[in-house]
């Protein structure tokens, strides 16, 4: 009874607060890319099995998000962007997040293994370990390349979707991985260029802080230049087609041009127009990834309907 009395004046965590631990916005991206990976695979998957595979991949991603929030609660609290997450906001305790994260990790891996196959389950387990342990615990606070490593975790879902359908990794899966992997650094560094203060106060070694903004601009250019050929290469594999190639060529031309603009500018010019190029590049980067995967779906649709 005394527990109940003591709890009466505290905030009661609602269902939505626990759901927020799973990073629903990241999850939508995971669901979308895993779905594309599964659908474009050359093996027919029963819709119910496909649905379950994507559901459990999403739960696994959510679990790793909860583990990340448990570990990073101290830095989330000092960054404006993340201060309203459930733990720093005082809605959910860190221990609850840890419990939910661990339980859902085990649950999602086992269920994906039963629904699809063991290879995809192993890959999902590795992804969760990679994001929660290698990225969050070891490298995020230790190296300014943290974004690159974190990007790898986000790049796994289409590969897991592909493996859930086919049972093994192939060139197409690796290129889909590479597309997200190479896209993440320019995407985040563009954000870091115009969201200056946050990472400084949290003490996370962002490239903008450790090596300066000039180096960051050069890195955005370098990663974008490596991203473009990889994105176009995917168009020449068996999952590519006219829709994808058109989108890839146009989107990458814009992206490389945008990276060039960022690279050529100095801080004075960026300050003068309120980081217009950087903001435009960041906004387009969201569309960039969406368009590429949508185009893959488009080509898969053309093949399924017998047009190609």
């Amino acid at each position: 009874m005394s527990d109940v009395m003591a709890a009466e004046h505290e905030y009661e965590a609602q269902f939505g607060d626990y759901f927020a631990l799973l990073k629903p916005r990241v999850m939508t991206l995971v669901v979308f890319t895993a779905f594309v990976g599964l659908v474009v695979a050359p093996v027919q998957v029963h819709p119910m099995i496909g649905f379950c595979a994507i559901l459990f991949i999403a739960v696994g991603a959510g679990a790793s998000g909860a583990l990340n929030m448990w570990w990073d609660a101290d830095i989330d609290a000092v960054m404006k962007r993340t201060a309203r997450r459930p733990i720093p906001a005082g809605k959910v305790t860190g221990q609850e997040a840890l419990g939910i994260g661990l339980a859902l990790s085990g649950f999602s891996v086992v269920m994906l293994g039963l629904a699809a196959n063991l290879a995809s389950a192993a890959l999902l387990a590795f992804t969760i370990f990679f994001y929660a342990v290698i990225y969050s615990m070891w490298l995020k606070r230790a190296t300014p390349q943290n974004i690159v490593i974190g990007g790898a975790a986000g790049a796994f879902p289409p590969m897991i979707g592909w493996v859930a359908a086919t049972g093994s990794v192939s060139l197409e899966a690796v290129l889909m991985f590479g597309l997200i992997f190479m896209w993440t650094p320019p995407h985040f560094w563009a954000l870091a260029l115009f969201l200056k203060k946050d990472y400084d106060t949290a003490g996370v070694p962002m490239l903008t802080v450790t090596h300066g903004r000039r180096v960051t601009r050069a890195h955005i250019m370098a990663y974008t230049a490596l991203l473009a050929p990889m994105a176009i290469w995917l168009g020449f594999t068996q999952i590519g087609g006219p829709v994808y190639l058109t989108v890839a060529v146009l989107a990458n031309a814009w992206f490389v041009a945008g990276a060039c603009r960022i690279w050529r500018r100095d801080e004075a010019a960026a300050e003068a127009d309120g980081y217009r190029s950087e903001k435009a590049f960041f906004q387009f980067s969201l569309l960039y990834l969406f368009l590429h995967f949508l185009a893959l779906l488009g080509d898969a649709g053309l093949r399924a309907s017998g047009v190609m």
């Binding site: 109940v4 709890a7 009466e8 009661e12 965590a13 609602q14 269902f15 939505g16 626990y18 759901f19 029963h46 119910m48 099995i49 379950c52 559901l55 039963l114 629904a115």
Partner: protein, 63 residues
């Protein structure tokens, strides 16, 4: 006999309890649906069930 005692905590935790309930119920549906699909993919399943089933005996090559 139904539990009639109402405590304020029932109201406070309503969203949690309803949410968990719905999750568990949908999980049952998912596992059931998955099972139906998986079993159907096995094709026709028969076994000797106390009665001899001639159609299960592999054909003997007479040559």
């Amino acid at each position: 006999m139904a539990i009639r005692a109402e405590h304020e905590i029932h109201r406070r935790r309503l969203s949690r309890n309803v949410g968990v309930g719905l999750m568990l119920f949908s999980f049952i549906l998912v596992v059931f649906g998955l099972t139906v699909v998986k079993v159907k993919q096995l094709g026709a399943i028969q076994a000797f069930d106390h009665v001899a089933r001639p159609e299960l005996v592999p054909p003997v090559d007479k040559n």
